[in-house]
Protein backbone atom coordinates (compact mmCIF):
# COMPACT_ATOMS: atom_id res chain seq x y z
CA UNK A 1 0.00 0.00 0.00
CA UNK A 2 1.19 3.52 -0.72
CA UNK A 3 0.15 6.79 0.84
CA UNK A 4 1.19 10.22 -0.53
CA UNK A 5 3.71 8.39 -2.70
CA UNK A 6 5.38 6.56 0.21
CA UNK A 7 5.25 2.87 1.02
CA UNK A 8 3.34 2.26 4.26
CA UNK A 9 4.96 -0.19 6.68
CA UNK A 10 2.90 -2.78 8.51
CA UNK A 11 3.45 -1.03 11.85
CA UNK A 12 2.36 2.31 10.38
CA UNK A 13 -0.78 0.64 9.00
CA UNK A 14 -1.52 -0.87 12.42
CA UNK A 15 -1.02 2.53 13.99
CA UNK A 16 -3.37 4.20 11.53
CA UNK A 17 -6.00 1.52 12.14
CA UNK A 18 -5.79 2.12 15.90
CA UNK A 19 -6.09 5.89 15.42
CA UNK A 20 -9.09 5.53 13.09
CA UNK A 21 -10.91 3.18 15.47
CA UNK A 22 -10.34 5.60 18.33
CA UNK A 23 -11.53 8.56 16.29
CA UNK A 24 -14.68 6.71 15.25
CA UNK A 25 -15.36 5.84 18.90
CA UNK A 26 -14.75 9.43 19.98
CA UNK A 27 -16.94 11.03 17.32
CA UNK A 28 -19.68 8.42 17.23
CA UNK A 29 -19.88 7.72 20.99
CA UNK A 30 -23.63 8.43 21.44
CA UNK A 31 -24.52 6.11 18.53
CA UNK A 32 -22.04 3.31 19.24
CA UNK A 33 -22.20 3.07 23.02
CA UNK A 34 -25.03 0.77 24.20
CA UNK A 35 -25.73 3.00 27.22
CA UNK A 36 -25.08 6.59 28.20
CA UNK A 37 -21.87 7.29 30.11
CA UNK A 38 -23.72 8.30 33.28
CA UNK A 39 -26.60 5.82 33.03
CA UNK A 40 -26.82 3.38 35.94
CA UNK A 41 -27.95 0.06 34.51
CA UNK A 42 -27.50 -2.32 37.45
CA UNK A 43 -25.67 -3.01 40.70
CA UNK A 44 -22.05 -2.03 41.17
CA UNK A 45 -19.78 -4.57 39.47
CA UNK A 46 -22.90 -6.69 38.84
CA UNK A 47 -25.07 -7.58 35.84
CA UNK A 48 -27.48 -5.12 34.24
CA UNK A 49 -31.10 -5.53 35.46
CA UNK A 50 -34.16 -5.87 33.28
CA UNK A 51 -34.21 -7.41 29.86
CA UNK A 52 -31.36 -6.37 27.62
CA UNK A 53 -30.25 -7.42 24.18
CA UNK A 54 -26.68 -6.35 24.72
CA UNK A 55 -24.42 -8.36 27.02
CA UNK A 56 -21.96 -6.00 28.74
CA UNK A 57 -18.56 -6.77 27.26
CA UNK A 58 -16.56 -5.60 30.24
CA UNK A 59 -19.18 -5.69 32.98
CA UNK A 60 -20.52 -2.82 35.05
CA UNK A 61 -18.40 -0.37 37.01
CA UNK A 62 -18.21 0.91 40.58
CA UNK A 63 -21.52 2.79 40.27
CA UNK A 64 -23.27 0.22 38.10
CA UNK A 65 -22.61 1.98 34.81
CA UNK A 66 -21.62 0.02 31.70
CA UNK A 67 -17.85 -0.02 31.51
CA UNK A 68 -17.67 -0.48 27.75
CA UNK A 69 -19.96 2.49 27.13
CA UNK A 70 -17.88 4.64 29.44
CA UNK A 71 -14.74 3.56 27.62
CA UNK A 72 -16.22 4.77 24.33
CA UNK A 73 -17.34 8.08 25.83
CA UNK A 74 -13.94 8.35 27.49
CA UNK A 75 -12.30 8.35 24.07
CA UNK A 76 -14.22 11.52 23.31
CA UNK A 77 -12.99 13.37 26.40
CA UNK A 78 -9.41 12.10 26.42
CA UNK A 79 -8.74 12.46 22.70
CA UNK A 80 -10.73 15.66 22.20
CA UNK A 81 -9.03 17.42 25.09
CA UNK A 82 -5.53 16.31 24.04
CA UNK A 83 -6.27 17.48 20.52
CA UNK A 84 -7.33 20.93 21.71
CA UNK A 85 -4.26 21.16 23.95
CA UNK A 86 -1.91 20.14 21.12
CA UNK A 87 -3.45 22.65 18.69
CA UNK A 88 -3.10 25.42 21.25
CA UNK A 89 0.47 24.46 22.10
CA UNK A 90 1.34 24.43 18.38
CA UNK A 91 -0.26 27.82 17.83
CA UNK A 92 1.80 29.28 20.69
CA UNK A 93 5.00 27.35 19.95
CA UNK A 94 5.13 27.94 16.20
CA UNK A 95 4.27 31.63 16.39
CA UNK A 96 6.86 32.36 19.06
CA UNK A 97 9.45 30.01 17.55
CA UNK A 98 9.21 31.46 14.05
CA UNK A 99 9.09 35.01 15.37
CA UNK A 100 12.24 34.40 17.42
CA UNK A 101 14.05 32.91 14.41
CA UNK A 102 13.05 35.65 11.98
CA UNK A 103 13.50 38.68 14.25
CA UNK A 104 16.57 37.32 16.11
CA UNK A 105 18.20 39.81 18.50
CA UNK A 106 16.68 40.49 21.92
CA UNK A 107 13.29 38.96 21.06
CA UNK A 108 15.01 35.64 20.36
CA UNK A 109 17.16 35.85 23.48
CA UNK A 110 14.24 36.73 25.72
CA UNK A 111 11.98 33.97 24.38
CA UNK A 112 14.75 31.35 24.48
CA UNK A 113 15.69 32.18 28.07
CA UNK A 114 12.02 32.03 29.10
CA UNK A 115 11.73 28.56 27.55
CA UNK A 116 14.96 27.44 29.26
CA UNK A 117 13.46 28.61 32.53
CA UNK A 118 10.22 26.67 32.00
CA UNK A 119 12.18 23.55 31.08
CA UNK A 120 14.37 23.77 34.18
CA UNK A 121 11.77 21.77 36.08
CA UNK A 122 9.95 18.51 35.27
CA UNK A 123 6.70 19.47 33.52
CA UNK A 124 4.56 17.38 35.87
CA UNK A 125 5.97 19.15 38.92
CA UNK A 126 5.45 22.56 37.34
CA UNK A 127 1.88 21.64 36.46
CA UNK A 128 1.32 20.60 40.11
CA UNK A 129 2.44 24.01 41.28
CA UNK A 130 0.06 25.85 38.94
CA UNK A 131 -2.86 23.52 39.72
CA UNK A 132 -2.33 23.85 43.48
CA UNK A 133 -3.24 27.52 43.24
CA UNK A 134 -5.63 27.67 40.29
CA UNK A 135 -7.52 24.41 40.85
CA UNK A 136 -8.35 21.78 38.26
CA UNK A 137 -11.00 23.42 36.08
CA UNK A 138 -10.80 22.42 32.43
CA UNK A 139 -9.62 25.80 31.04
CA UNK A 140 -6.80 25.86 33.62
CA UNK A 141 -5.74 22.35 32.64
CA UNK A 142 -5.83 23.12 28.93
CA UNK A 143 -3.86 26.36 29.12
CA UNK A 144 -1.31 25.01 31.62
CA UNK A 145 -0.48 21.89 29.64
CA UNK A 146 -0.52 23.77 26.33
CA UNK A 147 1.95 26.39 27.58
CA UNK A 148 4.27 23.78 29.12
CA UNK A 149 4.10 21.71 25.94
CA UNK A 150 4.63 24.69 23.64
CA UNK A 151 8.20 25.03 24.95
CA UNK A 152 9.17 21.90 23.00
CA UNK A 153 7.34 23.14 19.89
CA UNK A 154 9.12 26.47 20.27
CA UNK A 155 12.53 24.80 20.26
CA UNK A 156 11.79 22.70 17.18
CA UNK A 157 10.13 25.42 15.12
CA UNK A 158 12.83 27.93 16.06
CA UNK A 159 15.55 25.51 14.91
CA UNK A 160 13.67 24.75 11.69
CA UNK A 161 13.04 28.42 10.94
CA UNK A 162 16.64 29.37 11.76
CA UNK A 163 17.78 27.13 8.92
CA UNK A 164 15.07 28.33 6.56
CA UNK A 165 15.48 32.01 7.37
CA UNK A 166 19.07 31.88 6.12
CA UNK A 167 17.93 30.77 2.65
CA UNK A 168 17.89 33.15 -0.29
CA UNK A 169 14.17 33.16 -1.00
CA UNK A 170 13.37 34.24 2.55
CA UNK A 171 16.00 36.96 2.29
CA UNK A 172 14.45 38.08 -0.99
CA UNK A 173 11.00 38.26 0.56
CA UNK A 174 12.30 40.36 3.43
CA UNK A 175 14.23 42.68 1.13
CA UNK A 176 11.11 43.01 -0.99
CA UNK A 177 9.53 44.49 2.12
CA UNK A 178 7.13 41.73 3.10
CA UNK A 179 5.93 41.82 6.70
CA UNK A 180 6.90 39.36 9.43
CA UNK A 181 3.58 37.54 9.39
CA UNK A 182 3.67 37.15 5.59
CA UNK A 183 7.21 35.74 5.64
CA UNK A 184 6.29 33.23 8.34
CA UNK A 185 3.09 32.13 6.64
CA UNK A 186 4.19 32.03 2.99
CA UNK A 187 7.88 31.22 3.06
CA UNK A 188 8.74 29.41 6.27
CA UNK A 189 5.66 27.43 7.31
CA UNK A 190 5.18 25.45 4.06
CA UNK A 191 8.82 24.36 4.10
CA UNK A 192 8.79 23.31 7.75
CA UNK A 193 5.56 21.33 7.38
CA UNK A 194 6.86 17.73 7.24
CA UNK A 195 8.82 17.67 10.53
CA UNK A 196 6.10 19.73 12.22
CA UNK A 197 3.42 17.17 11.36
CA UNK A 198 5.51 14.37 12.89
CA UNK A 199 6.07 16.58 15.93
CA UNK A 200 2.32 17.12 16.17
CA UNK A 201 1.88 13.38 16.62
CA UNK A 202 4.55 13.27 19.33
CA UNK A 203 3.16 16.28 21.16
CA UNK A 204 -0.34 14.83 20.95
CA UNK A 205 0.74 11.59 22.61
CA UNK A 206 2.60 13.61 25.24
CA UNK A 207 -0.45 15.75 26.04
CA UNK A 208 -2.63 12.65 26.00
CA UNK A 209 -0.41 10.75 28.47
CA UNK A 210 0.01 13.87 30.58
CA UNK A 211 -3.67 14.60 31.02
CA UNK A 212 -4.32 10.90 31.65
CA UNK A 213 -1.63 10.86 34.36
CA UNK A 214 -3.08 13.99 35.99
CA UNK A 215 -6.58 12.47 35.93
CA UNK A 216 -5.22 9.24 37.35
CA UNK A 217 -3.71 11.22 40.23
CA UNK A 218 -7.09 12.92 40.74
CA UNK A 219 -5.83 16.32 39.56
CA UNK A 220 -7.16 16.24 36.00
CA UNK A 221 -10.63 15.89 34.53
CA UNK A 222 -13.21 15.78 37.29
CA UNK A 223 -16.34 13.57 37.43
CA UNK A 224 -18.94 12.99 36.04
CA UNK A 225 -17.15 13.22 32.66
CA UNK A 226 -15.76 9.85 31.65
CA UNK A 227 -12.10 9.95 30.70
CA UNK A 228 -9.62 7.13 30.64
CA UNK A 229 -7.24 8.41 33.32
CA UNK A 230 -9.98 8.95 35.91
CA UNK A 231 -11.51 5.59 35.00
CA UNK A 232 -8.26 3.86 35.94
CA UNK A 233 -8.40 5.76 39.23
CA UNK A 234 -12.06 4.87 39.88
CA UNK A 235 -11.57 1.17 39.22
CA UNK A 236 -8.14 0.68 40.74
CA UNK A 237 -9.28 -0.96 43.97
CA UNK A 238 -10.90 -3.75 41.98
CA UNK A 239 -7.49 -5.00 40.90
CA UNK A 240 -7.12 -6.56 44.36
CA UNK A 241 -10.13 -8.76 43.62
CA UNK A 242 -8.44 -10.01 40.45
CA UNK A 243 -10.71 -7.86 38.27
CA UNK A 244 -9.56 -6.57 34.89
CA UNK A 245 -11.57 -3.34 35.14
CA UNK A 246 -8.72 -0.79 35.51
CA UNK A 247 -6.71 -2.51 32.79
CA UNK A 248 -9.28 -1.61 30.07
CA UNK A 249 -8.94 2.18 30.27
CA UNK A 250 -5.19 1.91 30.99
CA UNK A 251 -4.81 -0.41 28.02
CA UNK A 252 -6.80 1.99 25.82
CA UNK A 253 -4.40 4.78 26.78
CA UNK A 254 -1.38 2.62 25.95
CA UNK A 255 -2.86 1.36 22.68
CA UNK A 256 -3.57 4.81 21.28
CA UNK A 257 -0.13 6.09 22.32
CA UNK A 258 1.57 3.13 20.66
CA UNK A 259 -0.52 3.62 17.52
CA UNK A 260 0.40 7.29 17.27
CA UNK A 261 4.08 6.48 17.86
CA UNK A 262 4.09 3.87 15.09
CA UNK A 263 2.74 6.43 12.62
CA UNK A 264 5.16 9.13 13.84
CA UNK A 265 8.10 6.71 13.47
CA UNK A 266 7.05 6.01 9.91
CA UNK A 267 6.69 9.70 9.07
CA UNK A 268 10.09 10.52 10.56
CA UNK A 269 11.64 7.66 8.59
CA UNK A 270 10.28 8.85 5.23
CA UNK A 271 11.24 12.41 6.07
CA UNK A 272 14.85 11.51 6.91
CA UNK A 273 15.05 9.32 3.82
CA UNK A 274 13.90 12.06 1.45
CA UNK A 275 16.43 14.47 2.98
CA UNK A 276 19.26 12.11 3.77
CA UNK A 277 21.11 9.61 1.63
CA UNK A 278 18.18 9.10 -0.72
Amino acid sequence: MRLFGHRVTILAMLGMAVIIINLVAAIGAPWIAPWDQAEIVGDAWGDPDADHVYVPLMGLDNLGRDLFSRLIYGARMSIGLSFIITCLSFAIGITTGFTAAVLKGWVDTALSRLVDLLLSMPTLIFAFIILSVLGTELPVLIVTIAILDSTKVFRLSRALAMNLAALEYVEVARVRGEGLWWVIRKEILPNAMAPLIAEFGLRFSFAFLFIAALSFLGLGIQPPDADWGSMVRDYRDMINLDSTAPLYPAGAIALLTIGVNFVVDWMLAIHSRSHGDG
Binding site: I129, V232, R236
Partner: protein, 331 residues
Protein backbone atom coordinates in the same frame (compact mmCIF):
# COMPACT_ATOMS: atom_id res chain seq x y z
CA UNK B 1 63.03 19.07 29.81
CA UNK B 2 60.58 17.38 27.50
CA UNK B 3 58.66 15.86 30.44
CA UNK B 4 58.40 19.31 31.93
CA UNK B 5 56.83 20.65 28.78
CA UNK B 6 54.41 17.77 28.70
CA UNK B 7 53.50 18.39 32.32
CA UNK B 8 52.88 22.03 31.62
CA UNK B 9 50.70 21.08 28.67
CA UNK B 10 48.75 18.67 30.87
CA UNK B 11 47.84 21.32 33.43
CA UNK B 12 47.04 23.79 30.70
CA UNK B 13 44.69 21.21 29.28
CA UNK B 14 43.12 20.47 32.64
CA UNK B 15 42.51 24.03 33.62
CA UNK B 16 39.86 24.86 31.00
CA UNK B 17 38.23 21.55 31.89
CA UNK B 18 38.05 22.54 35.53
CA UNK B 19 36.75 25.96 34.57
CA UNK B 20 34.10 24.38 32.36
CA UNK B 21 32.99 22.12 35.20
CA UNK B 22 32.86 25.03 37.63
CA UNK B 23 30.88 26.92 35.02
CA UNK B 24 28.36 24.06 34.87
CA UNK B 25 28.12 23.97 38.65
CA UNK B 26 27.45 27.70 38.67
CA UNK B 27 24.90 27.29 35.91
CA UNK B 28 23.20 24.50 37.87
CA UNK B 29 23.00 26.72 40.94
CA UNK B 30 21.61 29.56 38.83
CA UNK B 31 19.00 27.25 37.35
CA UNK B 32 17.98 26.15 40.83
CA UNK B 33 17.57 29.78 41.83
CA UNK B 34 15.49 30.40 38.71
CA UNK B 35 13.38 27.34 39.53
CA UNK B 36 12.77 28.67 43.04
CA UNK B 37 11.65 31.98 41.55
CA UNK B 38 9.35 30.11 39.16
CA UNK B 39 7.85 28.12 42.03
CA UNK B 40 7.34 31.26 44.07
CA UNK B 41 5.81 33.21 41.22
CA UNK B 42 3.64 30.22 40.30
CA UNK B 43 2.23 29.86 43.80
CA UNK B 44 1.96 33.42 45.00
CA UNK B 45 1.43 35.90 42.24
CA UNK B 46 -1.07 34.07 40.07
CA UNK B 47 -4.62 35.48 40.23
CA UNK B 48 -6.02 32.89 42.63
CA UNK B 49 -3.79 33.75 45.58
CA UNK B 50 -2.96 31.83 48.70
CA UNK B 51 -5.61 33.52 50.81
CA UNK B 52 -8.49 32.57 48.54
CA UNK B 53 -6.98 29.10 48.19
CA UNK B 54 -7.05 28.67 51.96
CA UNK B 55 -10.52 30.09 52.47
CA UNK B 56 -12.06 28.42 49.40
CA UNK B 57 -15.80 29.14 49.24
CA UNK B 58 -16.07 30.80 52.62
CA UNK B 59 -14.14 33.83 51.35
CA UNK B 60 -15.68 37.24 51.97
CA UNK B 61 -13.78 40.43 51.09
CA UNK B 62 -13.13 41.09 54.79
CA UNK B 63 -11.95 37.59 55.65
CA UNK B 64 -9.79 37.61 52.53
CA UNK B 65 -8.11 40.85 53.56
CA UNK B 66 -7.57 39.51 57.06
CA UNK B 67 -6.14 36.22 55.80
CA UNK B 68 -3.84 38.12 53.44
CA UNK B 69 -2.55 40.14 56.35
CA UNK B 70 -2.11 37.04 58.48
CA UNK B 71 -0.14 35.30 55.73
CA UNK B 72 1.84 38.45 55.06
CA UNK B 73 0.45 38.75 51.54
CA UNK B 74 -0.11 42.48 51.88
CA UNK B 75 3.62 43.11 51.51
CA UNK B 76 5.31 43.47 48.08
CA UNK B 77 6.11 40.22 46.28
CA UNK B 78 9.89 40.65 46.07
CA UNK B 79 10.10 41.12 49.85
CA UNK B 80 8.17 37.91 50.38
CA UNK B 81 10.32 36.05 47.84
CA UNK B 82 13.55 37.16 49.54
CA UNK B 83 12.14 36.16 52.92
CA UNK B 84 10.94 32.77 51.64
CA UNK B 85 14.27 32.07 49.93
CA UNK B 86 16.18 33.09 53.05
CA UNK B 87 14.10 30.73 55.16
CA UNK B 88 14.47 27.92 52.64
CA UNK B 89 18.24 28.39 52.64
CA UNK B 90 18.33 27.65 56.36
CA UNK B 91 15.93 24.74 55.98
CA UNK B 92 12.71 26.42 57.08
CA UNK B 93 9.82 25.74 54.72
CA UNK B 94 7.14 27.10 57.01
CA UNK B 95 4.04 25.29 58.24
CA UNK B 96 1.56 23.15 56.36
CA UNK B 97 -1.79 24.86 55.85
CA UNK B 98 -3.67 21.57 56.15
CA UNK B 99 -2.03 19.85 59.13
CA UNK B 100 -0.35 22.93 60.68
CA UNK B 101 2.76 20.81 61.18
CA UNK B 102 6.26 21.90 60.30
CA UNK B 103 6.78 21.23 56.59
CA UNK B 104 10.28 19.85 57.06
CA UNK B 105 9.01 17.40 59.68
CA UNK B 106 6.24 16.33 57.35
CA UNK B 107 8.50 15.93 54.33
CA UNK B 108 11.60 14.23 55.77
CA UNK B 109 10.20 10.67 56.21
CA UNK B 110 8.44 10.90 52.84
CA UNK B 111 11.61 12.04 51.11
CA UNK B 112 13.57 9.15 52.64
CA UNK B 113 11.01 6.69 51.26
CA UNK B 114 11.13 8.22 47.79
CA UNK B 115 14.93 8.28 47.70
CA UNK B 116 14.94 4.63 48.79
CA UNK B 117 12.56 3.74 45.96
CA UNK B 118 14.49 5.70 43.34
CA UNK B 119 17.91 4.38 44.35
CA UNK B 120 16.62 0.81 44.53
CA UNK B 121 15.10 1.19 41.04
CA UNK B 122 18.29 2.74 39.65
CA UNK B 123 20.44 -0.06 41.08
CA UNK B 124 18.23 -2.59 39.33
CA UNK B 125 17.61 -0.71 36.09
CA UNK B 126 21.09 0.53 35.21
CA UNK B 127 22.98 -2.81 35.16
CA UNK B 128 20.00 -4.50 33.50
CA UNK B 129 19.84 -1.88 30.75
CA UNK B 130 23.58 -2.12 30.08
CA UNK B 131 23.61 -5.92 29.89
CA UNK B 132 20.52 -6.07 27.66
CA UNK B 133 21.89 -3.31 25.45
CA UNK B 134 25.24 -5.06 25.04
CA UNK B 135 23.48 -8.32 24.19
CA UNK B 136 21.41 -6.55 21.55
CA UNK B 137 24.59 -5.00 20.12
CA UNK B 138 26.39 -8.37 20.01
CA UNK B 139 23.51 -10.09 18.24
CA UNK B 140 22.70 -7.04 16.10
CA UNK B 141 20.06 -7.81 13.49
CA UNK B 142 19.27 -11.18 15.04
CA UNK B 143 15.94 -12.34 16.40
CA UNK B 144 16.85 -11.29 19.96
CA UNK B 145 17.79 -7.80 18.77
CA UNK B 146 14.61 -7.35 16.79
CA UNK B 147 12.44 -8.72 19.57
CA UNK B 148 14.04 -6.42 22.14
CA UNK B 149 13.65 -3.46 19.81
CA UNK B 150 9.98 -4.16 19.34
CA UNK B 151 9.33 -4.68 23.04
CA UNK B 152 11.14 -1.47 23.99
CA UNK B 153 9.18 0.47 21.37
CA UNK B 154 6.04 -0.81 23.11
CA UNK B 155 7.13 -0.10 26.69
CA UNK B 156 8.24 3.42 25.86
CA UNK B 157 4.63 4.39 25.13
CA UNK B 158 3.01 2.44 27.95
CA UNK B 159 2.00 4.48 31.02
CA UNK B 160 3.41 3.44 34.42
CA UNK B 161 0.01 2.62 35.89
CA UNK B 162 -0.74 0.01 33.22
CA UNK B 163 2.54 -1.77 33.95
CA UNK B 164 1.91 -1.41 37.69
CA UNK B 165 -1.62 -2.83 37.64
CA UNK B 166 -0.65 -5.71 35.36
CA UNK B 167 2.13 -6.61 37.79
CA UNK B 168 -0.29 -6.36 40.74
CA UNK B 169 -2.89 -8.48 39.00
CA UNK B 170 -0.54 -11.29 38.08
CA UNK B 171 2.36 -11.25 40.54
CA UNK B 172 0.41 -10.20 43.58
CA UNK B 173 -3.30 -11.05 43.35
CA UNK B 174 -3.22 -14.20 41.26
CA UNK B 175 0.01 -15.78 42.46
CA UNK B 176 0.61 -13.84 45.70
CA UNK B 177 4.36 -13.69 45.19
CA UNK B 178 4.68 -10.05 46.20
CA UNK B 179 2.49 -7.67 48.27
CA UNK B 180 0.42 -5.25 46.18
CA UNK B 181 0.58 -2.41 48.69
CA UNK B 182 3.94 -0.90 49.51
CA UNK B 183 2.79 0.30 52.94
CA UNK B 184 6.11 0.81 54.68
CA UNK B 185 6.42 2.57 58.04
CA UNK B 186 9.55 4.18 59.49
CA UNK B 187 10.25 1.02 61.55
CA UNK B 188 9.89 -1.49 58.71
CA UNK B 189 13.12 -3.51 58.70
CA UNK B 190 15.35 -3.21 55.65
CA UNK B 191 14.71 -6.74 54.40
CA UNK B 192 10.91 -6.36 54.53
CA UNK B 193 11.26 -3.00 52.83
CA UNK B 194 13.04 -4.60 49.89
CA UNK B 195 10.18 -7.09 49.46
CA UNK B 196 7.38 -4.56 50.02
CA UNK B 197 8.77 -2.16 47.46
CA UNK B 198 9.74 -4.77 44.90
CA UNK B 199 6.72 -4.31 42.62
CA UNK B 200 6.93 -0.50 42.46
CA UNK B 201 10.64 -0.82 41.77
CA UNK B 202 10.00 -3.39 39.05
CA UNK B 203 7.45 -1.05 37.47
CA UNK B 204 9.87 1.86 37.44
CA UNK B 205 12.61 -0.38 36.07
CA UNK B 206 10.47 -1.68 33.22
CA UNK B 207 9.52 1.85 32.28
CA UNK B 208 13.04 3.34 32.19
CA UNK B 209 15.05 0.33 31.09
CA UNK B 210 13.77 0.39 27.51
CA UNK B 211 15.15 3.78 26.63
CA UNK B 212 18.44 3.24 28.45
CA UNK B 213 19.13 -0.06 26.71
CA UNK B 214 18.27 1.33 23.29
CA UNK B 215 20.80 4.08 23.83
CA UNK B 216 23.41 1.60 25.09
CA UNK B 217 22.91 -0.45 21.95
CA UNK B 218 23.07 2.62 19.70
CA UNK B 219 26.24 3.97 21.37
CA UNK B 220 28.03 0.63 21.15
CA UNK B 221 27.03 0.13 17.51
CA UNK B 222 28.23 3.66 16.77
CA UNK B 223 31.69 2.78 18.12
CA UNK B 224 31.60 -0.55 16.25
CA UNK B 225 32.04 1.36 12.99
CA UNK B 226 35.50 2.68 13.98
CA UNK B 227 38.74 1.37 12.42
CA UNK B 228 40.20 0.05 15.69
CA UNK B 229 37.21 -2.26 16.06
CA UNK B 230 37.88 -3.61 12.61
CA UNK B 231 41.48 -4.11 13.69
CA UNK B 232 40.31 -6.09 16.72
CA UNK B 233 38.17 -8.26 14.46
CA UNK B 234 41.10 -8.77 12.09
CA UNK B 235 43.20 -9.95 15.04
CA UNK B 236 40.67 -12.76 15.25
CA UNK B 237 38.91 -11.81 18.49
CA UNK B 238 35.41 -13.20 19.02
CA UNK B 239 32.57 -10.71 18.66
CA UNK B 240 31.51 -10.63 22.32
CA UNK B 241 35.07 -9.80 23.32
CA UNK B 242 35.29 -6.97 20.81
CA UNK B 243 32.00 -5.55 22.05
CA UNK B 244 32.69 -5.91 25.76
CA UNK B 245 36.41 -5.04 25.86
CA UNK B 246 36.91 -2.65 22.94
CA UNK B 247 33.61 -0.98 22.09
CA UNK B 248 31.87 -0.76 25.47
CA UNK B 249 34.54 1.22 27.38
CA UNK B 250 34.58 3.80 24.61
CA UNK B 251 30.80 3.97 24.49
CA UNK B 252 30.57 4.40 28.24
CA UNK B 253 30.52 8.20 28.18
CA UNK B 254 27.35 8.64 26.09
CA UNK B 255 25.77 5.79 28.03
CA UNK B 256 26.41 7.45 31.38
CA UNK B 257 24.94 10.63 29.98
CA UNK B 258 21.76 8.86 28.89
CA UNK B 259 21.49 7.12 32.24
CA UNK B 260 21.66 10.41 34.13
CA UNK B 261 18.94 11.89 31.91
CA UNK B 262 16.75 8.83 32.34
CA UNK B 263 17.12 8.92 36.09
CA UNK B 264 15.80 12.48 35.87
CA UNK B 265 12.78 10.97 34.16
CA UNK B 266 12.41 8.56 37.10
CA UNK B 267 11.43 11.56 39.22
CA UNK B 268 8.17 11.98 37.31
CA UNK B 269 7.62 8.21 37.13
CA UNK B 270 7.97 8.00 40.89
CA UNK B 271 4.96 10.27 41.46
CA UNK B 272 2.64 7.99 39.48
CA UNK B 273 4.11 4.72 40.74
CA UNK B 274 3.72 5.86 44.35
CA UNK B 275 0.03 6.47 43.66
CA UNK B 276 -0.40 3.01 42.12
CA UNK B 277 1.16 1.20 45.07
CA UNK B 278 -0.09 3.63 47.76
CA UNK B 279 3.52 4.16 48.81
CA UNK B 280 4.03 6.91 51.42
CA UNK B 281 6.55 8.92 49.40
CA UNK B 282 7.11 12.55 48.51
CA UNK B 283 5.11 12.26 45.28
CA UNK B 284 1.97 11.16 47.12
CA UNK B 285 2.44 13.95 49.65
CA UNK B 286 2.74 16.50 46.86
CA UNK B 287 -0.36 15.21 45.05
CA UNK B 288 -2.34 15.41 48.32
CA UNK B 289 -1.02 18.89 48.98
CA UNK B 290 -2.01 20.03 45.46
CA UNK B 291 -5.59 18.85 45.92
CA UNK B 292 -5.75 20.52 49.36
CA UNK B 293 -4.16 23.76 48.07
CA UNK B 294 -1.50 23.31 50.76
CA UNK B 295 0.92 25.76 49.17
CA UNK B 296 3.90 25.57 51.58
CA UNK B 297 4.08 21.79 51.17
CA UNK B 298 3.70 22.08 47.37
CA UNK B 299 6.50 24.66 47.28
CA UNK B 300 8.85 22.51 49.35
CA UNK B 301 8.16 19.27 47.49
CA UNK B 302 8.35 21.07 44.14
CA UNK B 303 11.69 22.59 45.05
CA UNK B 304 13.09 19.19 46.08
CA UNK B 305 11.91 17.53 42.86
CA UNK B 306 13.29 20.42 40.81
CA UNK B 307 16.62 20.27 42.63
CA UNK B 308 16.96 16.53 41.97
CA UNK B 309 16.07 17.07 38.32
CA UNK B 310 18.58 19.91 37.92
CA UNK B 311 21.28 17.94 39.76
CA UNK B 312 20.89 14.94 37.45
CA UNK B 313 20.87 17.11 34.35
CA UNK B 314 23.97 18.90 35.57
CA UNK B 315 25.71 15.59 36.26
CA UNK B 316 24.88 14.45 32.74
CA UNK B 317 26.30 17.70 31.38
CA UNK B 318 29.53 17.46 33.36
CA UNK B 319 30.05 13.80 32.47
CA UNK B 320 29.55 14.68 28.82
CA UNK B 321 32.22 17.39 29.08
CA UNK B 322 34.68 15.16 30.93
CA UNK B 323 34.29 12.35 28.43
CA UNK B 324 34.17 14.32 25.18
CA UNK B 325 37.55 15.68 24.05
CA UNK B 326 35.88 18.11 21.64
CA UNK B 327 33.90 19.70 24.46
CA UNK B 328 37.01 19.71 26.66
CA UNK B 329 38.71 22.11 24.26
CA UNK B 330 36.22 24.87 23.56
CA UNK B 331 37.26 27.20 20.80
Amino acid sequence: MSTLIIKHKETARLRPLLRLILQRLGLGFGTLLAASLLIFVGTEILPGDLASAVLQNSATPESLAEMRKELGLDRPAYVRYAEWLGNVAVGDFGHSLASHRDVVEEITPRLKNTVFLAVYAALLAVPLAIVLGLMAAIWQGGIYDRLVNFVTLLTISVPEYLVGYILIKYLSVRYAWFPSLANVTPDTPFGDRLVLTFLPVLTLTLVVVAHMMRMTRASVLNIMASPYIEMAFLKGLPKWQVVVRHAFPNALAPIINVIALNLAYLIVGVVVVEAVFVYPGLGQLMVDAVSKHDVPVVQAAGLIFAAAFILLNMTADILAIVSNPRLRHPR
